[in-house]
């Protein structure tokens, strides 16, 4: 009886004080982005008091596993989920597990909000499925003071880059740091070398599974990579470190350079932060236009979302200049919204680099089928430890590609 009364009371309360719920499942588990999102939600609720937003936060790696169960279950719980643009998003769109979100633009167009260049990576079959929030660039990070000390200038070409490595090494500094306990950092190197040597179209075809891994053009990528491995320019024992641990070698001045995304600044100690700078990954073949890596983060709406209407309202807010500006400012990243200026000088430099590029890629594990990405990234590590085995490694990768893509 008591239970029944409580139930009745609860039902009445729901109807009287009904606020429509919007549930967001988020992977922003690091303190800084988590806080930024919470503050955005606060602003949203002040603007739209009829909605009550619930944010469920999950650790990054857990989120990747759980997302599939949320999307696949017949009854959905989340209305909005965080995710990555590119193949990672398309994979779900293809299965009909997420829905197009054109309504977000209400009479306007994609181009009124976001750069045209982002469109393809946020859509599937000409429909927008993904609302970008922020993005960042990858570059070769270094400490200004260390470069100054040895009179090093930012290298522009591959030869200059090797020269810088040599100078650092002579002075007892590990030229390039990298932590490959989680292998994606190695994929960064693969991507940028392939982009510099073979260009964007080739890279996209490769990540889409259309180019055999035994292709001669691809072998060239590993030949260049091998130069820095054979000369001992890379941090020894890099497989023992996570990317943050490898970054400390840079922060302590024991290592000279780190090819990394802008988020390296999130983990830098305050006294080092302003000493950090980056340069564009050196040009290898002047005939190939410069392309860069710029992963895009954002949101999508599951097909089983209980409150799709609310989800669209929330995403409309996320796409707005106000929300994008706040998020970018808080994290020093670039807003996807074209109306938002870069939040600081560092971001301005990043943006200029991207604007000067001929095109952008997401990232190996965002552009490639997840299974291929896993084998591929582990193969890169194997290559870094045994560069001599490259033909054998690529042969195995090719066998995997054939199995995974069925062609």
């Amino acid at each position: 009886m008591k239970k029944f009364l409580v139930l009745v009371l609860a039902t009445i309360m729901v109807f009287v004080f009904a606020k429509e719920r919007i549930v967001i499942n988020s992977y922003m588990s690091d303190p800084a982005p988590r806080k930024a999102l919470a503050e955005l939600v606060e602003i949203f609720q002040q603007k739209y008091p009829e909605y009550e937003v619930v944010v469920n936060t999950f650790a990054h790696e857990d989120f990747k596993v759980l997302l599939r169960t949320w999307l696949a279950s017949p009854k959905g719980t989340a209305d909005v989920v965080t995710w990555f643009a590119g193949e990672r998003m398309r994979y779900f769109a293809e299965m009909g597990l997420i829905v197009p979100v054109e309504e977000v633009f209400e009479g306007a167009k994609w181009e009124d909000y976001f750069p045209e260049a982002f469109r393809s990576t946020c859509s599937y079959k000409d429909k927008i499925y993904f609302i970008p929030q922020s993005w960042y660039w990858w570059g070769v990070y270094y400490r200004k003071s260390v470069f100054e000390k040895f009179g090093i200038k930012e290298p522009k070409t591959w030869d200059e880059f090797l020269q810088v490595c040599e100078t650092l090494k002579k002075n007892g500094i590990v030229p390039i740091t990298i932590g490959t306990k989680f292998p994606w950092t190695a994929a960064g190197w693969f991507d940028i070398l392939n982009l510099r040597i073979n260009g964007l179209d080739y890279h996209i075809a490769l990540t889409a599974g259309e180019v055999p891994y035994t292709d001669a053009k691809l072998l060239k990528v590993f030949e260049y990579w091998r130069q820095i491995i054979d000369k001992g320019y890379l941090l020894p024992n890099h497989t023992a470190y996570e990317w943050q641990e490898a970054a400390t070698f840079l922060f302590r001045g024991q290592a000279g350079m780190y090819y990394m995304g802008q988020f390296i600044k999130d983990v830098a100690p305050t006294e080092v932060k302003d000493d950090l700078d980056f340069f564009r990954f050196p040009i290898i073949d002047p005939a190939v236009a410069p392309y860069e890596e710029t992963p895009i983060d954002g949101f999508m709406v599951p097909a089983n979302a209980p409150n799709k209407k609310g989800a669209i309202v929330f995403l409309r807010f996320i796409a707005s200049k106000e929300a994008q500006e706040k998020f970018a400012k808080d994290l020093g990243r670039l807003a996807a919204n074209v109306a938002v200026a870069p939040p600081d000088a560092h971001a301005k430099k990043g943006l200029d680099m991207i604007l000067a590029s001929a095109g952008v890629a997401q990232f190996y594990d965002r552009d490639t089928n997840p299974e291929m990405a896993e084998v591929g990234m582990n193969a890169f590590i194997e290559f870094m430890q045994n560069p001599g085995k490259i033909t054998d490694i690529l042969k195995r990768l090719e066998a995997e590609r054939k199995r995974i893509y069925g062609k």
């Binding site: 599939r68 490959t180 306990k181 024992n237 497989t239 023992a240 590590i381 430890q385």
Partner: protein, 289 residues
């Protein structure tokens, strides 16, 4: 009649849970292992394909071999060491309880914590082990413990022994309680020295404890997962991977549920084999009693 019903009523609850959470998933795993399934779309029946693939998968074979390394390491190291500590702790001397607690302490830590600690200890540049070796002038012995594919598995086993040895010790200590003191005293009267007393009297009486400890260690080595997951995630490039780890990666990272299930089935069958040997052994002994 009522009397007979009661135990079954009590059992019904736990049994129901057991079926839902243990038996049914095992059964489902067998079914899934014959399919190709990404965890979302409809599973497709593929017969033995996953199993055939597995035995052509060098990384699975490697994981399987690594499990055997774990098994050998656990049995040949944690059994004698556990027994040694148990014998040491079984005596009464000032402060013996403190020593017992100290040795026992790692048991209270989870493998995740132990893995984290040992990641720091074995860290190649500034870790305690290598720092110590360099300080001793043994630079050549300082190794990249966690990044050299040839030694990484042994480093992991070593870290796991940190917990496995006290575990074996506890089992042996319990076993020592049941050793008949009169037999030991009789041996003393007969003039047996310490080694003889140990070898001819205590060890044979420890047989039941020995069987349990070996079996438990074998089973533990087959389900090794946490330390690998924390310390290397099976890397570099799968070289320290074990079956459970490889299964996790295939199922939850690569979204190959069927393939992952096939690995689980093989792991299950191997473990089951050892458990059966153990159970039969126990049954045989009980018959004798």
């Amino acid at each position: 009649m009522k009397k007979k019903l009661a135990p079954y009523l009590f059992l019904a609850g736990p049994l129901a849970l057991y079926f839902i959470w243990v038996i049914y998933p095992i059964f489902r795993t067998f079914v899934v292992s014959f399919t190709r399934w990404d965890g979302m779309t409809r599973p497709r029946f593929v017969g033995w394909e996953n199993f055939i693939r597995l035995f052509n998968d060098r990384y699975f074979i490697l994981s399987l071999l690594n499990n055997f390394k774990w098994m050998v390491g656990f049995v040949i190291l944690s059994i004698p060491l556990g027994l040694f500590f148990a014998m040491l702790m079984d005596q009464k001397y000032p402060g013996h309880k403190v020593y017992k607690s100290l040795v026992y302490l790692p048991m209270a830590l989870s493998f995740v914590v132990i893995g984290q600690i040992w990641s720091w200890v074995l860290e190649p540049s500034g870790g305690i082990v290598n720092t110590f070796l360099r300080w001793m002038g043994l630079e050549s012995l300082a190794k990249p413990w966690l990044s050299d594919p040839r030694i990484v598995t042994y480093s992991l086993i070593w870290a796991a022994l940190w917990r496995q040895v006290p575990y074996a010790m506890v089992l042996f200590l319990a076993g020592l309680q049941s050793v008949d003191r009169e037999h030991v005293e009789a041996a003393i009267v007969d003039g047996a020295n310490a080694f003889q007393r140990f070898w001819y009297v205590i060890l044979p009486e420890l047989r039941p404890a020995m069987v349990i400890t070996i079996t438990v260690n074998i089973i533990d080595s087959l389900r090794a997962f946490d330390i690998v997951f924390v310390m290397t995630r099976g890397g570099p490039y799968y070289s320290s991977s074990v079956m459970a780890n490889y299964m996790y990666i295939q199922a939850f990272h690569n979204y190959r549920m069927g393939y992952g299930a096939a690995i689980a089935v093989i792991q299950f069958l191997i473990t089951l084999g050892f458990i059966l040997v153990y159970v039969l052994n126990v049954l045989k002994r009980e018959e004798r009693l």
